[in-house]
């Protein structure tokens, strides 16, 4: 009886995929499928204000923009699943989701594993520090100079940027998510937590024991690192990505963009240059 149950479960929950890529055997086009279903599976990582769940609804800057664009493409609704930030690209490539809705930055390393839409927003980096900023931290250079312990989020772009800027590995502390980074600073396990100023402002909102230091642009080997967040697709889903980019190009140039993202603490400063493409940023 129990055996039958397990066997049935296995059968019901099991489909075959193409070895090597993990794509469905049916060989369907993702754009055609989401147009037919009027639903697209999106992965998010509970990051305020990019994408998070509030009272059961997926909200944030990223769902606001993507929800608008997918609706324009063909009345497609977002169907969210939460993963760890570091698992999002795996979830995409194992076809658990069709697009990542997480304000993920375009980096050369990630471009090898997935395909980005053109930038949806640009952001500066900042440090979350205890109130009063006892170690006077402002950027990666000051972290190196003071030997402070810096919390970075596993899978986030700040990990590579901190390393690239020369922060020694022993000063870095990996945390699983934003909340863990905030808790690390509050509990004194880390002296600062590096993330985008947008995320940190939302995270520190209403908490008097922490503060967000002045935002900065990370520099690696003399080059300024532009943090541009975008939607992430599978590399083979070109049609879906192009449909997205076409709607995005119109949106970026319109007033509607600010209207969508303003409730989440975004300003004109975060509006990307319409000529900036994912290809340029993938070059590094």
């Amino acid at each position: 009886m129990a055996g039958v149950l397990v066997a049935t479960l296995g059968m019901a929950g099991c489909t075959f995929t193409e070895p090597g890529t993990g794509r469905s055997r049916s060989g369907e086009n993702t754009l055609d499928r989401v147009l037919a279903d009027q639903k697209i599976n999106v992965g998010f990582a509970n990051e305020r204000p990019y994408a998070y769940r509030d009272r059961g609804e997926l909200v944030g800057q990223s769902p606001a923009v993507q929800g608008y664009i997918f609706d324009r493409i063909g009345g497609i609704e977002l169907r969210p699943t939460m993963f760890e930030f570091g698992s999002l690209i795996q979830a995409l490539n194992s076809e658990r989701v069709d697009v990542v809705t997480a304000g993920m930055f375009i980096t050369p390393q990630r471009c090898k594993q997935a395909a980005f839409s053109n930038p949806v927003y640009v952001a500066k980096t900042a440090l979350l520090v205890p109130a009063g900023n006892p170690k006077q931290l402002s950027d990666f250079q000051s972290v190196i100079a003071t030997g402070a312990r810096l919390a970075v989020m596993n899978g986030a772009a700040e990990v590579g940027q901190a390393e690239g800027a020369g922060v020694p590995g022993r000063q870095l502390q990996l945390v699983a998510d934003q909340q863990a980074g905030l808790d690390a600073v509050k509990a004194g396990r880390a002296d600062a937590f590096a993330l985008t100023s947008i995320s940190l402002r939302a995270l520190a909102d209403g908490d008097n024991s922490v503060a967000v230091a002045e935002p900065f642009v990370p520099v690696i080997d003399g080059e300024e690192q532009i943090n541009a967040g975008a939607a992430v697709f599978r590399q083979r889903d070109t049609a879906l990505r192009e449909a997205f980019n076409a709607e995005l190009a119109k949106l970026i140039r319109s007033e509607k963009w600010l209207e969508l993202v303003e409730p989440y603490g975004f300003t004109e400063d975060e509006r990307p240059d319409p000529d900036l493409t994912a290809e340029q940023l993938c070059q590094g």
């Binding site: 099991c14 995929t17 305020r48 699943t81 939460m82 194992s94 909340q179």
Partner: protein, 231 residues
């Protein structure tokens, strides 16, 4: 904070329900795997014993988190894709079943030698001996360690948020934003503790039943008294 709790309560309850569902599914799968590999390890066939050893050592010797992530994220790239509910049940079944197989093997071996000899003297076949004499006596011994394992399954279900299953830990991580880490994680501790007590109660009940079936005296077994005959 109270307002936030009331608003998020339905999600929280759904999380508790999902945690219980996976705790039961995982336990059923683990029980099946335990008996299959536990009894195989007692088989006369060298091949069956060998296979059982390899499976048991592999699945209890590798991390449950890695097994879960491997089944969920890596298998699709090798050609097999399980839905989250199937991936979770398989990982729990194999991992905890590996521990359970040792419980089954231990309990069966612990049945006194004289019982085995008696079945031979009575000319019973292997299957009948196992089913009618050995297993009924071994079962009460298995219940407490299986109860332990079940509580482990309950607590390990908190790993399932890693594969996007909206169980209790997933909901608590959402709640963290609204009511803070202190309150959210404290509530989770209490809820897991209460759920574990529920499993303990069920285990105790099964233990009494299993003992009573082989005539061992426990609370709740009524020994019939000879009735006085009316004259």
């Amino acid at each position: 904070m109270i307002d936030e709790l009331i608003i998020t309560a339905p999600f929280f309850l759904t999380g508790i329900w999902t945690t219980l569902l996976y705790t039961v599914l995982g336990a059923v799968a683990a029980l099946v795997v335990s008996f299959v590999f536990g009894l195989m390890s007692l088989s006369r066939s060298v091949a069956a014993r060998g296979l059982s050893r390899v499976v048991v050592e592999f699945f209890r010797g590798t991390s449950l988190v890695i097994q879960l992530l491997w089944i969920f994220f890596v298998l699709p790239q090798l050609g097999i894709r399980f839905e989250p509910i199937a991936a979770a049940t398989i990982a729990f079944g194999l991992n905890f079943g590996a521990y359970g197989a040792e419980i089954v093997r231990g309990a069966v071996t612990a049945v006194p030698r004289a019982q085995w000899e008696a079945t031979v003297a009575l000319g019973m076949g292997r299957l009948r001996r196992m089913r009618r004499v050995i297993l009924p006596q071994a079962l009460p011994e298995m219940v407490p360690p299986f109860g332990n394992l079940w509580i482990q399954i309950l607590k390990s279900s908190s790993l399932l948020y890693l594969i996007g299953i909206t169980e209790l830990t997933y909901e608590v991580k959402q709640l963290q934003f609204d009511i803070g880490s202190l309150a959210a994680f404290s509530i989770a501790l209490v809820v897991y503790f209460l759920l574990a007590q529920l499993l303990v109660a069920v285990t105790r009940w099964v233990e009494r039943r299993a003992a009573a079936r082989v005539g061992r005296a426990t609370k709740g077994v009524v020994v019939e008294q000879p009735q006085a005959v009316a004259t």
